[in-house]
Symmetry: C2
Subunit: 324 residues, 2 copies
């Protein structure tokens, strides 16, 4: 932009980032290969998944939720987890995350050589039953066992608390249940706690309330991360709220793929390119390149045979797109 302004003879105006003072780092966890693809009707080949992951690395992604070690009958889209892990390039500066739901999944994840794992807790009894045929207690107990094992092996492990902002069956979810699950995860060895708005119903006041409550419970030694869906157009407001209360790790998916099966016409995860637009203009550095992501989203749109909900690719970057 400054070059354009200089070329046009205008007076350069500082980037709005200066409003915040010094730049801060934001880490994006790119979840399109896992949470993104898991909810799509079209299954990608192993080769296409590897291609996607390589493209994401090319755009600067360094933490990537690559695979899920769930039973293939539960989530057919993730049946080739081992094959994907074997084929993707291993680099010291790229960390691959595998989703692990139980001790069996942990065994598979360890054998596949993931760099870190993501285990889950669920904040609603009905969702626990319908989604994993278990209970809140059953799921967190399994995850505690896996967290302890990962800690013993020195593998970083995130506990993601799903439906933390609302349940499609029960409605409002008690924030104290979420905060208590976070406490148990940290006690069991989680290096990071993530709150997940699985069905995209959350609002910024919930983000602030939950993050403040979890931080009080687990202290500063445990990382905080958030996972938002833009199903009701609150995903980016929630991301900004999370940044506002000090969260520096956010999940997103290229193109915004990953619509929830409960709301088939709605958008999915917050789109990485749109999150980058928001974050970069607010003065955060992510190490990712927004323009390099546009072709990745196009690749995904082609593979999935539908448009993606991301907007910056349609409207154009700003001010970067001036004169293009």
């Amino acid at each position: 932009m400054n070059e354009l302004l200089e070329a046009s003879g205008s007076t350069a105006v500082a980037h709005p980032a200066y409003y915040r003072g010094m730049a801060e780092q934001l880490t994006i966890v790119e979840v399109s290969p896992r949470d993104g693809l898991q909810n799509e009707k079209t299954l990608l080949t192993t080769g296409a998944k590897v291609d996607l992951i390589e493209q994401l690395i090319g755009a600067g992604a360094r933490r990537i939720e690559a695979v899920s070690f769930v039973h293939p009958k539960m989530v057919p889209a993730m049946a080739d987890a081992e094959a994907v892990m074997e084929a993707i390039p291993r680099r010291d500066d790229v960390s691959y995350i595998g989703l692990v739901l139980n001790p069996r999944g942990w065994t598979r994840a360890k054998a596949a050589g993931v760099d870190e794992i993501n285990v889950v807790a669920c904040a609603s009894e009905t969702f626990s039953e319908k989604n994993q045929n278990s209970t809140i207690e059953g799921i967190i107990s399994d995850s505690e066992e896996v967290l302890a094992a990962a800690k013993a092996e020195g593998v970083p492990a995130t506990l993601t608390i799903t439906v933390a902002f609302g349940c499609p069956f029960e409605g409002e979810v008690d924030p104290d249940v979420v905060i208590d699950l976070a406490r148990r995860g940290a006690a069991a060895g989680a290096t990071e706690i993530a709150i997940g708005d699985t069905i995209g119903v959350g609002v910024p006041t919930q983000v602030t309330h939950l993050i403040d409550g979890i931080r009080r419970e687990v202290g500063d030694g445990v990382g905080l991360r958030a996972h938002f869906h833009n199903t009701r157009n609150t995903g980016f407001a929630n991301a900004a709220a999370a940044l506002g209360v000090g969260v520096r790790v956010l999940d997103s998916s290229a193109g915004g793929i990953g619509g929830c099966p409960f709301a088939p016409r709605a958008t999915g995860n917050i789109a990485t390119e749109d999150l980058l637009y928001l974050a970069h203009r607010m003065g955060y550095e992510t190490g990712m390149d927004i323009d390099a992501l546009f072709p990745v989203a196009s690749f995904l749109a082609g593979q999935l045979e539908h448009d993606t909900p991301a907007l910056v690719s349609k409207a154009g970057n700003f001010p970067g797109s001036l004169g293009k």
Copy 2:
């Protein structure tokens, strides 16, 4: 929701609104009849506009930007401003706003009997030239004249500062230019200052910076209002940021119609139904009914012959839609 929980025997969990304490009022300025329709390819008949406005009132809208008194050659979609004003129901509890760009427009607005006016300033020289064939100084001078006249007549008048967050031609806009235009507007008699993200490039740090700066300059006696587009998925984050710094008047359009001509595939104004979802769940009261807005957006989609970008209507309200 509470009824549903009681019916199902679950323990009721408080609405996230409680996180904020006492409910506060938020006023929505419904702009679909003016800013919404102005950028659409399809022209609505006068009858359809009147129908739209009546439906909006039915859904609880009480401040409505109904018409624009610009030259019909400039904006053909608004050529029937007088006819619309004559046909819509006049009620003590509904305030109709007319957009006024110059003294000639003010004469028309007064004759048509609008309840309040909206005048503009523009924060970019190039946008002033391309959009109104004028200069920053030329536009604010005209508006100062209109503001003084409106004050003399006791007609409430808002100064909206356009491209306050970025210009499609110049890139970044100097926030001090925006703040100085606000100062001049307030001095000339504006009862309210609005900042407009005309092309949908703003981010929350800009909202906070501009609102803080304007409030310091104009004091508490002048109302503050904001106008966001969701072109790059930052519109609702900006709305939440505006609420966070005390703005209690926000523009939005039913369905989110009103895409900018510079970004034809992108979404337009932030959608009223999605803003209501965000605001109500954050504990604000608006007097508007989200479910009653869904058919209004459907009506608009039918009239304009395209889908609207609003999301809550697609995904379903929450937790209100449970069991429906």
